[in-house]
Symmetry: C2
Subunit: 380 residues, 2 copies
């Protein structure tokens, strides 16, 4: 059996994801669809709108055969580490082809890598702007290409990761359909995940742009996960912890600990806090991720040299058969049930993130939680 | 002008407090009533039902002339440190008489001190019970006196503090009126503060047992301060912080860090957490205080050798005149307005406690908050 890999957040699973999945199957003729999916917190550092088990279930119900969690130490990271972490798992799972959307699939992403390598060391000197902005300015000047659309940037990261690690994965960018990532309007059948989340928060109907099962899962939400709900926790730690301790938080650099502490002392709601903390130097995503690291009290040490693993969230018969086919060749541990020992060691960060996510749902997110199994699916 | 001192929590100010105040004036013929009052958290480690400014205002409206805050490092402590901290401030304020309720004002509290001194070193060996329980068992055996009622215990602490520090304060225990401390029923005109808080939480009317101004202040509450509201903050820190760090928390002794971490991982509401953490060895008050130290991330170092000060919350003309009379003789700083420098140093712990209290009220609790002044009161 051959597998096609998808790198996903499914936040939440919508019609565009369904389209992506079908195209991936058609383009590759793969018998199995393997999705690596962010857990309870997304790459941008925000709580996912549905917990990872619900999102894995929706993925299964919509045609994914095997869902593996991208651990929080790789999921909540800048694009490059996110991309590398996801491809590392897919490569270990013997997935040979990965299909992903891009705004400009026709670009030669491979070629841009060598340019950045040179740039990184020489030119990141203007501290008033983000690295991404400065890199892109140089790129436009040199190549005429503007790497600004989020899925183009991610596509570029996938190519770079495979180059750096010599992974023999066939990377297949496809044209992203429908609305852009940042587009907040809902199309007739397609909308961005971000647009869908905004619609949910403002009470607009999303039933045309998501599968029925997604709409049903969203209708059951009693509380919409957001930073606003977690802000009292973040705020308190920023206020109570001495700056000397806050400096140990992963990515708490360049005096951000003073800036965040002051903003926390002053601001009573999360949006005001975020805008008080923002400068040109940091993107909102960078700050949101830092908010999560701070709330989870993750130190630099805890975030480096993590042991990768495959935490299986869901599979059907095809997924199970595929796992059986590859499991003896896996380099990383395959985890189907988290025990008390894992929660304190191998999976400690995911476990801690899951406990934070319990502010939205009483459901235990890791310990003794068996993978979701759909036995109704028949073999090809 | 002579002052009578009261050591108070006013949580909230009720008819029994009014009675206590009038008796104190009658017994002492003092011209001024000075109250040392807990701030936003009480001696038992719980958030006060009204913030300290509202409670100071109610005290002023009910006959107190000067309200000084007992700093959190002395307020949220076992009875002995609470008593010592309060009397230290009153002694520095040249208050010569202190009147307080006791269940058995006729006892010779002074005499019991020497007995405890002996007991403390020799007999605290049974680790299955609290020190208080063991001390009292020995006391009953030796003297026939059972020091079990909360106000008797506190009365005893006042005498002990004055003995140990050679403070020339006339301590006047009076018979506690009405309901006992733990009594949850409401009398016709009198009820315990604890009974009143329970009544508020369960929606019963308290208007017969509190002054009208207290009822009005309570009616304005949009959220009733409780540990249940703060539990997500406490829970998250217990989960995210390594046990090695939790050990630095003040009073986190004898492996309590493991016990609390496990209870936090398991329990989603505060009452379940508290009962999971409880053993015979620790009283609920001890655990509640530890919950506060943990949420405020207070280390042992931060809780020892604190510089005392007088943070003035409210006064009227008589209170102002009295302050004027004594201020040149004060050993400790007199603070009427907290500035940015104080919030990070002298008043850091009160400031941090106030920020935590902002989960109940948006009102800034310290910085730039001037004392409440009632100019309507005329001199005697």
């Amino acid at each position: 059996m051959d597998a096609v890999g998808l790198i996903t957040e499914y936040n939440p699973f919508h019609n565009g994801h369904q389209y992506h999945l079908r195209i991936a199957q058609q383009l590759t003729n793969a018998q199995v669809v393997v999705a690596v999916m962010s857990g309870n917190f997304t790459q941008r550092g925000e709580p996912a709108i549905l917990d990872k088990w619900t999102r894995a279930k929706l993925a299964l119900e919509n045609g994914v055969d095997l869902v593996v969690e991208l651990p929080v130490f790789d999921a909540v990271q800048p694009g490059q580490r996110f991309a590398t972490g996801a491809l590392r798992l897919l490569n270990d799972l013997k997935v040979k082809q990965v299909v992903f959307g891009a705004e400009h699939p026709e670009w030669n992403f491979k070629k841009l890598g060598s340019f950045e390598k040179k740039f990184r060391h020489d030119d990141f000197t203007d501290y008033r702007e983000t690295f991404a902005t400065q890199f892109n300015e140089a790129l436009v000047e040199k190549t005429g290409i503007s790497l600004t659309d989020p899925n183009d940037i991610l596509a570029y990261s996938y190519f770079k990761a495979c180059q750096e690690h010599d992974w023999a994965i066939n990377l297949i960018p496809i044209k992203r359909q429908g609305k852009g990532y940042h587009d907040q309007t809902l199309g007739l059948y397609l909308a961005s995940a971000s647009g869908i989340r905004t619609a949910i928060k403002t009470g607009r109907s999303i039933k045309n742009v998501v599968p029925k099962v997604t709409a049903q899962a969203l209708a059951k939400l009693t509380i919409i996960p957001s930073w606003q709900v977690l802000y009292p926790i973040l705020r308190n730690h920023l206020i109570q912890s001495p700056v000397g301790e806050l400096q140990n938080i992963y990515q708490m650099t360049e005096g951000l600990e003073y800036r965040l502490k002051e903003a926390a002392q002053r601001e009573l709601d999360f949006q005001s806090f975020l805008h008080a903390a923002k400068t040109k130097r940091y993107t909102f995503a960078r700050l949101l991720r830092l908010c999560l690291y701070t709330t989870l009290e993750i130190t630099t040490e805890q975030m480096t040299n993590n042991q990768p693993y495959h935490h299986v969230l869901a599979f059907n018969d095809r997924g199970r058969e595929y796992l059986h086919q590859v499991k003896k060749q896996l380099q990383y541990p395959l985890i189907t049930k988290v025990d008390a020992e894992m929660k304190d060691h191998l999976l400690a960060l995911d476990y801690r993130a899951g406990k934070l996510y319990q502010n939205f749902t009483a459901v235990e997110q890791d310990v003794k939680h068996a993978p979701l199994i759909d036995l109704s699916s028949k073999k090809h």
